[in-house]
Amino acid sequence: MQNLLEACAITKHFGATVALDAVDFSARAGEIHALLGQNGAGKTTLMNILAGHLRPDLGTVTLDGVAIKTASPQTALRAGIAAVHQSPMLFEHLSAVENLALGGFVRRGLALNEVAERAGAMARSLSFPVQLPPKNLTGLSLAQRMRLEILRALSFQPRVLMLDEPTGLLAPGELSGFLDLLRALRNRGCAVVFITHKLAEAMAVADRITMLRAGRVVDQTSPPQTTIEQLAALMLGNAVELARPKKSHRRGAEVLRLEGLSLEVDGVALVDEVSLRLHAGEILAIAGVDGNGQRELAEILACSRRPTSGQILLHGQPAGARAMGQIAVVPQNRDQEGLIPGMELWENLLLSPALRRQMQTAGVQRRSAAIALCSVLLKRFSIRARSPRQKAADLSGGHRQRLMIARALASRPAVLVAHDLTRGLDVSAAAEVSRIVREFADQGGAAIMISTDLDEVFGLGDRIAVISRGRLFEVPTANLTIERVGLLMAGVGQHR
């Protein structure tokens, strides 16, 4: 088959870091090409180069055999190369339709309602449901934002569509629909480049698989000729223990109690009478389709949003502003809510109220202490960074995720709340982080894991609950099956 897009000997350095080292890559029409690799392997950098966001130090990109000389996002889009980024790049203050209007639907003099119509038609023809809220994007879940961005990319009628970890936020039910979308695009003759950390997804959908490690292509294969185990070994360069940590059922004193927490916005209960008790040593996993009140629950626990009613008790005491240091939260939206990409790594640590309090005397930052702490955390969480003085934006997606987890645990909180804990982490890092959280619980911490990923929910949770339309249902261990949880997530069979 003819190569549509071809990248030859691409090399890219960032200062002393070699992000890509003479990488060859190609995409063919009517093919799904999965790009795999550990965190920091160079996947996003490669995609950014193909999409014209970055210019390679060396190497050429050709489309239909014609070299793309002055690479820019505009020329790439005009040539038919569209990209969906790891964290959605949307205009928050614009409506969904306006965001789409900035995509490829717009020809001269196309009114917004026509854009909406065309977008709707396109979504329907691909059976790809997208919500289009009328005002701004504030209430939209991250998964919905990702869908919006995908639709915007599709609006350019791309010949090559590249997607950087689009599946991290999808619930199991949504995943198969999404993979069908990729297949539909392939069947229409589109070249699809698909970056993921879930090896099973690659095995299910890819025609070809390219594996990157430390900026080099280490293998090219295709699903029938390989297995998930082989891929994992190839990716990590050696065999690694990926087993989930053992659960423990030691239960300490009650740490956290939520009593009837509700959050109402415009008459809609986003969080609806959530009550729960959490003991030291316990991990509660909350499963749910993204956008069912998880984000709001996390915001309330982070004390950044006040519930309309109900209260939080910490060690039996009503938790006021002081609780902020005791409950450490890892937000879902890494780049918009979790980090300040333009600030240095050590400064990002100080976003945590507890660390900010620890690392100061009389309002003056203890800068060297904070930098030293950052160095320690970089090592302990294997974050690939040159120094604590680097900007957070310079880390790869997975390493930024690790930084957020490191920050949350560094303040030694009583309760850890993590929303999509392992999003963007490669398989070995995900296993490592799961182990670290288990350790945290074993040492007397209590943790709430909010996730859309049932494997993670079942692998990590001592107790399992489901959130749906803002309501929380704890699933008794007696009839705990993946099917039952899946049904509850879909909103079937809820009763109190």
Binding site: F91, S304, I340, P341, P353, Q365, D394
Partner: protein
């Protein structure tokens, strides 16, 4: 390019390009660029009196430049340093004329304090309006500039008018409230030292304290800071108060060190020029001092070439504007591209 190098190289290159364009402009107008630029240089640094004048011209720019860089560091677009400076000068005059019997130190402190407080209140008002009613601070601070201009005009025609009531200027400040001139005939005074001392203080606040960190963090990513419980409101008001206070202090220093009285057209636009000063300094308070010196030298030299060469100072002002354009051009993807990344790796939406 390392960040430190690019932060110094770009402004220097911008200045060089702007001066080059200025030379072309001079040639186009029929003046000899080499002669005129030499005259400009010697006007600014030719002898020690010229140097002293340059320093004096830079002093208010340091105050207002610090004011602007502080606010801008938190993405608070304070365009009101001009008005805050005028309020400061007004308060300093109103207070100073009554202090004839005070000791020198007490009177000076009171005058400077009054100026700083007046500027701080004007700034804080805009900060509060933004926090409480989401009033865009660009609009509120510009509006206050006009109000300040009118307030000064009203004061020198009314309550503060000099005793003979023949000129629209205020009464002269008593000697106790006037700063000492070190080396007459130059008017060098403590004001410059105060300004230079404030630069590291501002830097310290911005880069070494928790509240300075909070301001920068809120300015860069308000959603993240909101998630982690840093309230944007209070820090906005504090930053605007500090920013306004610095500009107001600049106005007070100008009154009690140089003019010794208030009059209409008190400021030639220090509060606006400050935006250029701060941008060339890349909002770094430490770099505001050399940046202000550069602009002060241009202002001073421009007056000299007008006298000696008959070249309009407007041309120099145009060159000052050009510097900003060139600096912005250096930051656009097309020119900034080269070997390094165009987009800050994982770029956020433009308006996030």
């Amino acid at each position: 390019m390392s960040p430190v190098i690019s932060a110094t190289v770009k402004p220097l290159a911008a200045m060089a390009v702007a001066i080059g364009l200025l030379a072309i402009g001079l040639a186009a107008l029929g003046a000899n660029p080499a002669v005129t630029l030499t005259a400009l240089l010697s006007g600014a640094f030719g002898d020690w009196l010229a140097v002293a004048d340059t320093l004096l011209k830079a002093t208010p720019l340091v105050f207002t430049g610090l004011s602007v860089s502080l606010a801008f560091s938190g993405s608070i677009w304070n365009i009101g340093a001009e008005g805050q400076l005028l309020f400061g000068a007004l308060a300093a005059t109103a207070c100073g004329i009554h202090l004839a019997r005070w000791s020198h130190v007490a009177a000076i402190s009171a005058v400077l304090g009054a100026g700083a407080i007046a500027g701080a209140l004007a700034g804080a008002l805009c900060g509060w309006l933004r926090t409480r009613f989401s009033v865009n601070e660009v609009i509120s601070t510009i509006m206050l500039n006009f109000i300040a201009l009118q307030a000064v005009s009203w004061a020198v025609h009314g309550p503060l008018m000099e005793p003979s009531h023949s000129y629209p200027i205020s009464q002269k400040l008593p000697a106790a409230a006037c700063m000492h001139w070190f080396f007459p005939p130059s008017r060098l005074n403590c004001g410059l030292l105060l300004a230079i001392g404030l630069a590291p203080a501002c830097y310290f606040w911005l880069y070494r304290t928790n509240s300075g960190f909070e301001l920068r963090a809120v300015g860069r990513n308000p959603r993240a800071t909101a998630f982690f419980g840093i309230a944007a409101g209070p820090i906005t008001v504090v930053a605007m108060a500090l920013s306004g206070g610095l500009a107001g202090l600049g106005g007070a220093v100008q009154v009690c060190a140089i003019t010794q009285r208030l009059f209409e057209r008190f400021s030639p636009g220090w509060g606006y020029e400050a935006i250029a000063v701060a941008l060339v300094a890349r909002l770094n308070p430490l770099a505001v001092v050399p940046s202000a010196l550069f602009f002060g030298a241009l202002d001073n030299g421009a007056q000299v070439i007008q006298r000696t060469q008959g070249v309009s100072p407007v041309l120099v002002q145009a060159a000052q504007g050009l510097i900003i354009f060139v600096l912005l051009a250096f930051d656009t993807p097309i020119l900034a591209r080269g070997r390094s990344a165009t987009l800050p790796h994982h770029k956020q939406p433009a308006d996030a």
